[in-house]
Symmetry: C2
Amino acid sequence: MRIYRYPTKNTWPELVQRPVLEQKEISALIEGIFDEVKTNGDKALIEFNLKFDQAKTDTVTVTETEIKNAENLISEDLKQAIQEAKENISKFHTSQKPEIQKIETTKGVVCWRENRAVEKVGIYIPGGTAPLFSTVLMLAVPANLAGCQEIILCTPPDKEGNINPAILYAAKICGVTKIFKTGGAQAIAAMTLGTESVPKVYKIFGPGNQFVVAAKEYAQRYGVAIDMPAGPSEVLVIADELSIPEFCAADLLSQAEHGGDSQVIFLTTDLKVFNETISAIGLQVKDLPRNELANKSLENSSFILMDSIEEAVEFSNLYAPEHLILAVDNFDKYIPMVQNAGSVFLGNYSCESAGDYASGTNHTLPTNAYARNYSGVSLDSFVKKITFQYLSKEGLQNLGKTIEIMAEAEGLLAHKNAVSIRLKLQP
Amino acid sequence: MRIYRYPTKNTWPELVQRPVLEQKEISALIEGIFDEVKTNGDKALIEFNLKFDQAKTDTVTVTETEIKNAENLISEDLKQAIQEAKENISKFHTSQKPEIQKIETTKGVVCWRENRAVEKVGIYIPGGTAPLFSTVLMLAVPANLAGCQEIILCTPPDKEGNINPAILYAAKICGVTKIFKTGGAQAIAAMTLGTESVPKVYKIFGPGNQFVVAAKEYAQRYGVAIDMPAGPSEVLVIADELSIPEFCAADLLSQAEHGGDSQVIFLTTDLKVFNETISAIGLQVKDLPRNELANKSLENSSFILMDSIEEAVEFSNLYAPEHLILAVDNFDKYIPMVQNAGSVFLGNYSCESAGDYASGTNHTLPTNAYARNYSGVSLDSFVKKITFQYLSKEGLQNLGKTIEIMAEAEGLLAHKNAVSIRLKLQP
C-alpha cells in the first residue's frame, strides 16, 4: 500500500504509472499453435486440451444434450439472477440502437448511416478458478441484439472434459449458436482460421491470460478484428467527507480480489475517511477467500490525500481508470469533468459489482490507460456503420462544380470526369 | 481485365480474392526510425526530411506566417469549394452526435453513455503526387466537432521545404492546432513518442504508403490507437439494364486512377451494359493524365455478368468492397441486402467522387475486406463512449440479491460483499 499526502502535480505522472508487466516473449509459441491448428484442425485442439488443460475430449463441439443438462445442474436462484441480468443488459444495449437519420447536406444530396451486424463473431471465455458466465452475458447479449448470424463461444474444458454449466446456460439463453471446448491461444487460432468444427469468425471478443491476449493480437494479421487491447483490471475511487469508508473499502477490495496485478487507487479530500477506509480494508480483507490475491494487489495500490475533488478528478483523467467510482455527495457537478474512464459509478450505492453483473452496462472495458482512446464494448462493437448517399440529378448539379474543382486540385482527373460526364450527358 | 460470365457460386470465393500484396519485411527499418526519433527528437525529423524527402528544413513546425500566406496561394474557387465541402462534412458528422439517453433498467438503477473526445489526435497526410487536402477535411472536421483539444497534422515537405497551400488552408479552417513538416514512418514515430515540437497523441489517423502503414501498426505497441488497418482503395459497381455505361466506366476509372494496386469490380445483369461499359472505359482512359496507373489497375480488375441483382449484392457482400455503387433503378429494394461495404452510392447520379470530396460522408473507409468487421471513420472515431450508472438505495435493494448470487457463483466474494455491506449498513 503506497500512501501519498497532497502530492504536487509535477509528481502525478509518476503516480499514475501502471506497474510494468512482465512481457514474456511468447510470439514463437503463439505462431506454433496457429500453425498446428491450421494444419491439424480439430485434432490439434483435442491434443491441446490434453496438453494444456489435462482434459480428455473426443470432440470439441459441445452437444445439445450437454447444454440441456446444464440447465438442471444450476440452482433456480442462479438461473433467475442470470435472467434478470440478461434483461437489464438487453435494455441498456437496445437503447444503443440508433434511429436512421437522413441528412440533406445540399439540396438533392442525402446521406445517412445504417448499422449492419458483424456476421460472424467469436467469444472467448477463460477457464480457471472463476467461471465467468457474466462475461458470456456481456458479449452474447449485444451480439444477439446486433443481429450477428454466427455467435460462437470457446472455453476450455475442465479435467473431466466438461464446461461449467452456468456458462452453458448463459450461452444458451443469450443466443450463442455453437459452443466449443477449447481454450487458450488454440481457441483464438481456431476462431481465426477455422477448423472442421469451429467456424472462422470476423471479430473476436473476450478476456484471457497472456497467451490469449498475445493470440488475439496475432490473429489480427489474418484480418480478424478484436474487441480491444487488454490489461489487468482497475478501479479508482474518489471519496469526500460524506463517503462511507466501509463501502469504499469493499469496492477497492472487489477490484483487488481479481488478481495480484489488479490496480486499486483511492483518492479523498478527507483525512478521517482516508484513515477509516484503510482500516476497513484491513478488517474486510481477512474474511475473503481470495485474500492472498487481494493483499498482493493492495501492495501495489495507492491511497492519496487530495486538496479538492476537482483535483482528484483531474488526477483520475490522467490515470484513465477502467472503473471510476465517484462516491461523492454532489457527483453531478463532477460528471462533465470526467474525460478518461471506462465506466463511472456515482454515489454511495453504485458499487462496481452492480456494473460487473447486472445493472445493464457492459463490463468489458478499456484498462491500462486505454480509456484515453478506447470505449468499452457496446452494441457498436458488434456492428459496422455503413454510410449511404443518394444524389438526385439536381443534387449533382448543385454539388458538381465543387467536386470538380477539388478533384482537379488534387490532380485526380478521373474523379472529376465522373462528375463532368454526368453533367454533360444528363439523361 | 478479367471477364467472367455467370460464374457459379462455388467459384466466387476465388473471384473475391484480393491480389496478394507484396509484404516487405520492414519492421527492422521501422524500429530503427522509432529509436532515432525517441533519441534525437526534432533533430531526427529534420535529418529524415533531408534523407527521405530531399527537403532542407531548419525546423519541423509550420509557422503562422506560412499558414497565413497559404491563403493567398490558392484560388478563390478552390477556397470556396473547400468551404462548401467542409460545411457538408460538418452537417453530416454533427448528425452523428447522440442524445444522452438515460435508461432505468431496474427501478432505481439508471444507466447511460456520454461521449468524451479523445483529447489528443494526430492526422497524417501523405505527400507525393496528389496533395490530399480532402483527407484533411475528412479527419480534422470530425476531430474538431468531437472536441479534441489537440489536433495535430504531420505531412512531408516538398523539396523546397514547403507544404502544399491547400493542405495548410484546409487545416487552418478545420481547427488543426499544430502542423509539422515530417512524413513517413518518422511522422508516426513523432506523434507516438513526442518530440520537443511534436506532441504525443492518443490516436493516429490517415492514409500512407507501406512504411506509414507499418509504422501505425508498430505505434500500437506504445498504447496509441489507430483509425483502421489499411489496404489499396476499391470500388464495386452493380448495374442493371437502366444503368448508363459511360457513368459506370467513369466511376470504375475514378477508382482505378488511385494506383496500380487499386481494385475495380463491375457486376451487371445486362449484356449490353456490360459490353458498352467496357468500351467506354477504353475510350475514357486515354484522356486521363494518370492512365498508366489506371491501366495497371484495370489489368487486375474483374468484369462479371450475373444472373440477378440479388446475386450481385450477395457477391458484393462476400467481397466486402470499400465503395459500393448500386447504379440500379430500384436501389431501395437492395439496401437491406447490403451487409458488408464501407460506403454505398445509390442510383445514376451518386458518383463515388461525391463522397470522396463533398457530399458530407467520410472517405476514410475500410478496404481489403475489412468492411466485414470495421466501420469507416465517423464522429465515433474521435470519441470514447463512457458509461455512467447511478443506483439509489432503492435501486441496490432491488438489484442487490441478483448481484450477490452471481458474484458468489463466480467465486468472487469481495464483489458480493460490496453489495452485502451496503444492504447491511444502509445509512
